[in-house]
Amino acid sequence: MSSVSMAVDFAGIQLKNPINTASGTFGFGWQFQNFFDVSRLGAITTKGCAAEPWPGNPKPRMTEVRGGMMNSVGLQNPGVRGMVAESGEFLADLASKGTAVICQVAGHSTAEYVAALELFEDLCPWAAAFELNVSCPNIDQGGAAAGSTPEGAAEVMRACRPITKRPLLVKMAPVRLPEIARALEAEGADGLTVINSIPGMAIDVHTRRSKVSKPTGGLSGPLLHPIAVRMVWEVAQAVDIPICGVGGVTSGEDAAEFILAGASAVSVGMASFPEPDAAVRILGELEAWAESQGVRDINELIGAFEC
């Protein structure tokens, strides 16, 4: 056991450690259970689910780019009921082992977010919190289209807030963050997940076509990291609610930058693809870093960036 206490309070959720997984990069958790004991993580965030199943976008849905990847999955998901039928048992068990299960909520419109969240609230007693995805860059309605203005994001939050007493988080698009964060805080958001994929474009110069099935896709990976750290820092200065940092974390030091910039939790995203147990390695490295900083409690390092 490490000498540093790694437990954090994130938006009212007690996490045994700050390591979380980014929605859409960790399936519904059980996909990783053979690679490592998922209950070692502080939290996992499940793939965004809507009230009804979504088919997602046509192929190709992915291309590599320098320093990361670009996806256009388009929030393919089995719907809340399908998700619960398929993965509910595993997730309930995981929750019982003290790993917070954060369920992500998808929708094409405010009404759809409400419908999905109502289902989640009903069917997922084991969920520690819900995360509203108002930032998916790969769908034409809802997602980033809903969450890229303070008004749009606030509208979704306002409609969803009454549905649950559990912590309500918002996954934010990489635009106009301080403004939107303040709007969400005002509507009662308990925490903010910063950031979702940045929209990008990759053209096959031989065929002159997009390398994914839509003109643009969402970027993930180390290329995002310095941008995401800056955004977390900006949001941390704008609001008092806690932040989960996401974007390009591949090492404990990457996670540490988010913590120093003001994040209470950190999600590992695409790093889990080539290295399925990346999150738990990163947890170990984060702990070693905290120890090297001579603190007793990781909380002493949250927002400890000096400028």
Binding site: T63, N71, F90, F273, E275
Partner: protein, 265 residues
């Protein structure tokens, strides 16, 4: 919960890595545990070191998994930066390989005769299947296509696996029939379809679609091995979706081998 992938991350060592045709390499890796687990039609996901800007593994089928020798034979086409980098890995180099990936061929019970149709770099999983058919004493016919004679692979392999009949086609006529290998496959199915209980195909998607249609016309069960851009290889990302008649299915878990009738071509 659905069954998670049995995949693990295995250490592996390059045993050999040599060109066998124009832009096509044969890679042999030693990874004893994985070699024992692999079944024909599955795939592996290999990490190719050397470019920090490129993070994902490369999904590859295999032509043979030798449980005794502990080795896996992979044939790959050099088509981009990742496979180019792979082609520079030298014997003795070590890396990791994630697998087994997905589910492979399902030879129908009581299958009397099979038709195998492989195009281009679609040969490896088909050759692997041919060996399995040979092991089970199920006769089969092979149609292989390639862009040109210098890109043709597998002929010797199918012969060694005891194939009685290999029909070769090349797009440019430099070997065998001048045209697509689908022509031969369609003809076989049209004229002798009743003798077959199974068609298996891997290659470019339009080729497989033609084969699937011919098999359906002939009333023969058909499986096809599909490729998709894969980020994880074990069911976590949904980038590998294949449109099927019963919805989107992940190629890395429900495939890469699909019932051809189910696929929306």
């Amino acid at each position: 919960m659905p069954t998670p992938s049995p995949a693990r991350v295995h250490e592996c060592t390059v045993v050999k890595n040599e060109p066998i045709a124009q832009d096509i390499f044969a890679l042999r890796i030693a990874s004893p545990e994985l070699a024992r687990m692999l079944e024909p039609g599955q795939f592996v996901d290999i990490a190719v070191p050397g470019n920090a800007m490129s993070l994902l593994r490369i999904p590859l089928s295999f032509a043979e998994a030798d449980a005794e020798a502990g080795t896996i034979d992979i044939w790959y086409a050099v088509v981009g930066e990742g496979t180019e980098r792979l082609s520079r890995m030298e014997p003795g180099a070590t890396t990791t390989v994630l697998g087994p990936g997905g589910h492979g061929w399902t030879i129908p019970e009581g299958c009397r005769r099979a038709l195998l149709v492989a195009g281009g770099i679609g040969v490896p999983p088909i050759l692997c299947l041919a060996r399995e058919l040979a092991r089970r004493n199920i006769p089969y016919t092979v149609c292989v296509g390639a862009a040109s004679a210098d890109r043709l692979v597998g002929e010797a392999g199918f012969e060694a696996a005891g194939s009685p009949a290999i029909s070769i086609a090349t797009d440019d006529g430099s070997a065998g029939y001048h045209g697509f290998c689908t022509a031969a496959a369609e003809q076989v199915l049209e004229t002798e379809g009743d003798d077959f209980d199974y068609v298996a195909t891997c290659g470019p998607e339009p080729m497989m679609a033609k084969v699937a249609a011919a098999a359906e016309r002939a009333g023969v069960a058909c499986e096809a091995s599909l490729e998709r851009m894969m980020s994880c290889g074990f069911g976590a990302c949904a980038t590998c979706a294949v449109e099927t008649k019963s919805g989107m299915k992940g190629a890395c878990m429900c495939g890469p081998v699909f019932d051809a009738k189910e696929v929306v071509w």
